[in-house]
């Protein structure tokens, strides 16, 4: 392959791993020419994705999402709060994304990853967007007694293994954790505080009217799903690994909801510019990906119900 010139001339004389490290762009472009990626995927294909609901026993809702090696653990804990005067019949959701030092060699304790607050904000914007039709969660569903008590849902997402496409995996784990969330049965005690009613002492608590009759699931509308693509020259690579992300630095993240409406489109700068046609192609790839992911989520939910 001397035709490509430059450092490629060395490719036949050098060990594969050394070539990959020394000339990463050439290494990847040689693959792209053949329409394949170093891990054997086609350019537009995402990695194998798995979901497990209920991974954290102590949480009210939780999920473990894996896209390739990227692993996210999301858990929701419900606490009680007094609603604000402006919105007396609404609960609240606080979303936090964490990158502990275990997840990547680039994160050191005491020096939090720069990426974590960025993803945290993106997730909040995507999940908490409020609209008449488009909102994923109606905050009014989190109300217990108007003006007195409402649920505060703390969603914490931990990146356990960072291997690219962190936002996609984090959003998937968050959506899955909300699908798994169960609101417990509670009632007021004598001090006016909310207390849990467990199955075994419900008989003794009969005299107190429970606020909600049984465990309920949160109603979710229009779940958001995302796909991150790399734009490199004329190529579009879906669901990049961290190696690909470190070499080719122009990303485009598309979020669509379950009815394929566009929720957000994010191209945070980068050296490459995007043509309208490539943006459209990214959206097409995301549509396919949303179908795939919806199926995976459905399967995880039905697996959960069987158990």
């Amino acid at each position: 392959m001397a035709s490509m010139g430059g450092p490629n001339d060395l490719s036949s004389e050098m060990e594969l791993d050394a070539f990959r490290r020394l000339f990463p762009i050439c290494f990847h472009e040689r693959h792209l020419l053949e329409s394949i990626r170093p891990d054997g995927r086609a350019l537009g294909r995402a990695r194998d994705t798995t979901l497990m609901l209920g991974a954290v026993a102590s949480a009210n809702g939780s999920a473990l999402a894996k896209i390739g090696c990227t692993t996210m653990l999301a858990a929701i804990k419900l606490e009680v709060m007094t609603p604000t005067a402006e919105a007396p019949d609404e609960g609240c959701i606080a979303i936090d994304f964490h990158m502990p030092p275990i997840c990547s060699p680039l994160v050191r304790p005491g020096r939090p990853a720069e990426l974590a607050p960025v993803i945290s904000k993106q997730l909040s914007d995507t999940i908490l967007r409020q609209g008449i039709i488009s909102g994923m969660i109606n905050l009014k569903d989190l109300c217990l007694v108007s003006g007195k008590a409402a649920w505060m849902a703390y969603l914490d997402i931990y990146c356990l293994d960072a291997d690219g496409a962190l936002f996609d995996a984090a959003l998937l784990s968050a959506v899955a954790a909300f699908s798994h969330l169960q609101i417990p049965v509670v009632s007021f005690n004598d001090d006016g505080r909310i207390v849990l009613i467990s199955d075994d002492n419900s008989g003794a608590m009969k005299e107190k009217e429970p606020v909600n009759k049984e465990k309920i699931k949160l109603k979710l509308n229009n779940l958001p799903f995302s796909l991150t693509c790399i734009l490199h020259k004329n190529y579009i690579l879906a669901d990049p690994t961290s190696e690909e992300e470190s070499i080719m630095e122009t990303f485009l993240t598309v979020v669509l909801d379950s009815s394929f409406q566009l929720v957000s489109l994010n191209k945070p700068g980068g050296p490459g510019l995007a043509h309208t046609s490539s943006i459209q192609e990214c959206i097409t790839l995301t549509r396919q990906r949303v179908k795939e992911v919806q199926k995976i989520l459905q399967e995880a939910i039905s697996d959960m119900e069987v158990d």
Partner: protein, 256 residues
């Protein structure tokens, strides 16, 4: 998170109604019935797996009952620039908890002392001379805290070090015992730890029969300490066998 917590009203976690948790006083003389139905000298079933985190040099996941821990090992890699020259390697340990690790959100224990305890427990088992001028980082994340956290972290970290191919004299296994009244309970869960009169933890290298760390806190009589130490050492050697078989399995299984 800080920005959010100031903007949102104070919240509390709803507790179970009508159940005041108090240590029953009669227990001092009678037998303690363990919440998970184990015998007093029975450890929780241990699940260990290496290679949990792909981006690390080595990693391990440990699950002992409800205690779930991931440890990643990075390096040996360049020491911080501020570090002086050293002809032996450095070990750097850090332990953190997820916000949902404890039943009530954000009540994780102080992790600075856990990090330093982990460092001291592992230091003696690592051949630091084998990686001069560099640092090995051992980072632990407690996903769920269900009691005996530090022994589980130490055991898991030792397995992760072996997975990373760091030279060790031997792997270390760690087990703790709680003393409640006249009962000695091995591998206590959180509830038992909260009622304990005393606790004893031993970290040792089973095949060399050497102890790298031992802590005793609370009220103990000399015969009790002997009994508890024997219990811990026996459990450590059994745990060591499980760790070994976990590593063998990983080595003989299909390579990714």
């Amino acid at each position: 998170m800080a920005g959010k917590s100031s903007a949102t009203p104070t919240t509390y976690s709803p507790s179970l109604s009508g159940q005041k948790k108090k240590r029953p006083s009669f227990l001092t003389d009678s037998d303690w019935v363990r919440p998970d139905g184990r015998g007093p000298h029975q450890c929780r079933p241990a699940f260990l797996r290496t290679g949990a985190v792909n981006s690390a040099s080595g990693s391990a996941y440990a699950e002992f009952g409800n205690t779930k821990v991931i440890v990643s090992v990075f390096g040996p890699r360049e020491s911080k620039k501020a570090m002086m020259y050293s002809d032996t390697g450095r070990l750097n340990c850090n332990v953190s908890y997820t916000t949902f690790a404890t039943p009530i959100r954000g009540q994780a224990p102080e992790t600075k002392d856990l990090s330093s305890m982990l460092h001291k427990a592992l230091e003696g088992a690592i051949i630091l001379k084998s990686f001069p001028k560099t640092t090995v980082d051992v980072f632990a994340l407690v996903l769920e805290s269900g009691g005996s956290d530090l022994p589980v972290i130490t055991t898991c970290a030792s397995l992760a070090l072996a997975d990373a191919g760091i030279m060790l004299y031997d792997m270390v296994a760690s087990v703790s015992v709680s003393c409640i009244g006249k009962n000695l309970l091995i591998d206590p869960v959180s509830e038992e730890e909260s009622y304990q009169d005393g606790s004893l933890m031993i970290t040792c290298m089973p095949s060399r029969n050497e102890v790298t760390q031992m802590t005793v806190t609370g009220e103990w009589s000399t015969p009790k300490i002997h009994e508890a130490m024997q219990l811990c050492l026996d459990a450590c050697s059994k745990l060591g066998k499980i760790m070994r078989s976990c590593l063998k399995e990983a080595a003989s299984g299909p390579q990714d």
